[in-house]
């Protein structure tokens, strides 16, 4: 047992050292803020696809999906299949457009379309959402390290947070993409190949174990409704993932960093293909666990129990893959928050005339500050991590209608966008964080999508046809209010 733990701890230590090495190695590739934030727009299709996939394949799924499959059966595939469906639809709507805008952040695009008011409101929200997500990943991954080493949880959080920060501060998106790539390779090796082989050789074929679980678990969607106002439903998984992806800064920057517009589309499609097998693996593990050990009282512990049945080498590989999955999600959000800070706050209000080369040092400082704030919250307020998803829902999902209108509806106004965003942020906090309405009446994502759309369209129609602009001028992006030092 001790030697098994030694192999696992050694593997994790080696992995962490490799991540730091990559960060230091790619530091030499960073000469401008475009290099730091967008990897010099040199990202290849494969690397971008792996980077996108890594945002989805998070460590949180390790506890949630096998547990859901253990309780509810194959419908658990929707946890990640919803992401794949949303990503394939997204591939034909946003990536090419995002690449053509030339922007660093989705909020910079809002600045183009709606002007500074919408950009500022959305920037504050996006930073809050990113920090909530980083914090959740640090706490989750720190918990894995703590469980492995026996250290107190805060020590695990500290180690994970510092290592993530080191490679993101040194290499920016370059480090994130290169580490994500190798993290995905580990995932493919151990999760995609190791897990099904372990299940097959240890417990027998699927048809053999299928006779030992309740028949309803093997049907789709089992006891879960297809649609409904509450969560989860089959459709709800797709809508939730679409909400996070479509207006998510971590996704936007992946597309604007790809070499060509066609490459951006292919990256999204390939990411869907990369994640597809993953959708079925964790549910398969949950169903096997149900067949072999139907007495597990805490479904979140299902995957942990399976790992305890593996050889130390396979368990080490599996753990590193899970660890990598969490870290790759955290690094994406560290960089997302940095981009927003740099481009939408620092460069707008503090150093408007700085060149791309002059912004490298501030980029690193901002990354360090974002990382330290998130780490501090994860250390001193770890229970806040449970609000991660609620805060992302609140601050990102209302931006989806605002983004789609910015692309296709010339009549969308800054008044509609700014007020819709502000009202939805407050409503989301009330509905999804401070009251249980999201569990009893309707899920926050539906409430926010509808509210955002109605306010955006309604206010824009009033501004365009009745009142005229409520502040500033009618077309902020096409006037001099943005300010050009001519």
């Amino acid at each position: 047992m001790r030697s098994g733990l030694g192999i696992i701890a050694g593997g994790v230590g080696l992995y962490m050292a490799a991540m730091v090495f990559i960060g230091l190695y790619v530091m030499r590739w960073v000469r401008s803020s475009t290099d730091f934030i967008l990897s010099g727009r040199q990202t290849s299709v494969v690397v971008a696809a792996f980077g996108l996939a890594s945002i989805n394949i998070a460590g949180t799924a390790t506890a949630a999906v096998p547990g859901l499959a253990y309780k509810s059966g194959w419908v658990a595939v929707m946890f990640n299949l919803g992401w794949v469906i949303a990503m394939i639809a997204y591939a034909f709507i946003v990536p090419k457009f995002a690449r053509r805008t030339g922007t660093f952040s989705i909020l910079e695009w809002f600045g183009v379309k709606y002007g500074p008011s919408t950009r500022t409101v959305a920037a504050i929200a996006m930073i809050a959402a990113s920090i909530a997500s980083i914090m959740a990943q640090f706490v989750g991954t720190g918990g894995i390290v703590s469980g492995l080493t026996g250290w107190p949880q805060w020590q695990g959080v500290l180690v994970v947070g510092l290592i993530t920060m080191i490679y993101v501060v040194t290499g920016g998106l370059w480090a994130t993409l290169v580490t994500d790539f190798y993290q995905q390779i580990l995932g493919i090796l151990f999760l995609y190949l190791g897990l099904p082989l372990f299940l097959f050789f240890r417990y027998g074929s699927y048809s053999a174990i299928a006779t030992q679980v309740p028949a309803q678990l093997l049907t789709f969607p089992g006891s879960m409704p297809w649609t409904g106002w509450l969560y989860p439903t089959v459709l709800g998984f797709v809508v939730m993932n679409a909400g996070f992806q479509w207006a998510g800064q971590a996704y936007w920057s992946r597309f604007t960093s790809v070499r060509t517009e066609k490459g951006a589309i292919w990256a999204a499609l390939l990411a869907g293909i990369v994640v597809l097998p993953f959708c079925f693996l964790y549910p398969l593990a949950g169903i096997y666990a149900r067949a072999v050990n139907p007495g597990i009282s805490n479904p979140d512990a299902v995957f942990g129990w399976l790992m305890s049945q593996m050889s130390p080498v396979l368990a080490a590989g599996m753990l590193i893959s899970i660890f990598a999955a969490s870290q790759s999600t955290a690094d994406a959000y560290v960089l997302a928050a940095t981009t927003v800070f740099l481009r939408d706050i620092y460069q707008r209000f503090i150093r408007q005339d700085a060149t791309s080369e002059e912004l490298v040092a501030p980029s690193r400082v901002i990354t360090a500050v974002v990382g330290l704030v998130s780490l501090g919250l994860a250390l001193f307020y770890p229970y806040g991590a449970v609000y991660g998803i609620a805060l992302i829902t609140t601050f990102v999902i209302p931006l989806v209608p605002i983004l789609l209108a910015s692309m296709w509806w010339p009549g969308a106004t800054k008044e509609g966008a700014t007020i819709a965003a502000l009202v939805c942020f407050l409503l989301g906090l009330y509905w999804g964080v401070f009251t249980p309405l999201w569990q009893t009446t309707a899920h926050t994502m539906y409430v926010l999508l509808i509210t955002s759309t109605v306010l955006l369209v309604g206010i824009s129609l009033v501004v365009n046809h009745i009142t005229g602009p409520w502040w500033g001028t009618k077309r902020p992006a096409h006037t001099k209010e943005v300010g050009i030092n001519g």
């Binding site: 000469r31 040199q42 290849s44 090419k96 922007t103 060509t260 060149t355 509806w409 050009i484």
Partner: protein
């Protein structure tokens, strides 16, 4: 270096003439925030110098020159005219092609450094050359460029 509106306008007109007519090209070539660039394209549209291909969707981020806008551009010499009308390229593009042809393969950063081009402008030019088939790119992480047969013909004929 701070670029004023007149400089930004000149760069935008030049970009469109050389077949790099998107907002992304303008942002890369001017080094400015997209909102600033869009403010300039807005006023240029109002003055009738350029027009966007559509008022929505991807066409709204793509521009073309009007006659009035073309008139503001400095005239090209004979070889510049030939290069532009024959291949849709500018003289800096030809320099890139020649450099890559001599070296065989080059990293994106190397091209910027060797030709002393701004990093972000190089990105725009290389993307254009790859999309038009004059350069081929590969490389899992960093972008490695080499000249295509089509690009080699341009170098031979334009020289």
């Amino acid at each position: 270096m701070v670029k004023g509106e007149s400089v930004v306008r000149g760069i935008i007109l030049e970009c469109i003439r050389e077949g790099r007519p998107t907002l992304a090209d303008f942002v890369d070539c001017t080094g400015r925030d997209a909102a600033d660039v869009m403010a300039v394209t807005g006023s240029m549209q109002e003055e009738g110098l350029i027009r966007s291909l559509s008022d929505r969707g991807i066409g709204s981020l793509t521009y073309e020159l009007t006659r009035k806008g073309e008139g503001l551009l400095p005239p090209l010499d004979e070889s510049g005219r030939k290069l532009l009308s024959g291949y849709g390229l500018g003289s800096a593009d030809l320099t890139i092609l020649k450099t890559v042809a001599v070296k065989g393969e080059m990293l994106q950063d190397e091209i910027a450094r060797q030709l002393k081009l701004p990093n972000d402008e190089t990105i725009s030019r290389l993307t254009h050359l790859v999309e038009k088939g004059y350069l081929l790119d590969r490389g899992l992480f960093r972008r490695i460029l080499r000249i295509s047969e089509k690009g080699r013909k341009v170098v031979t004929q334009a020289s």
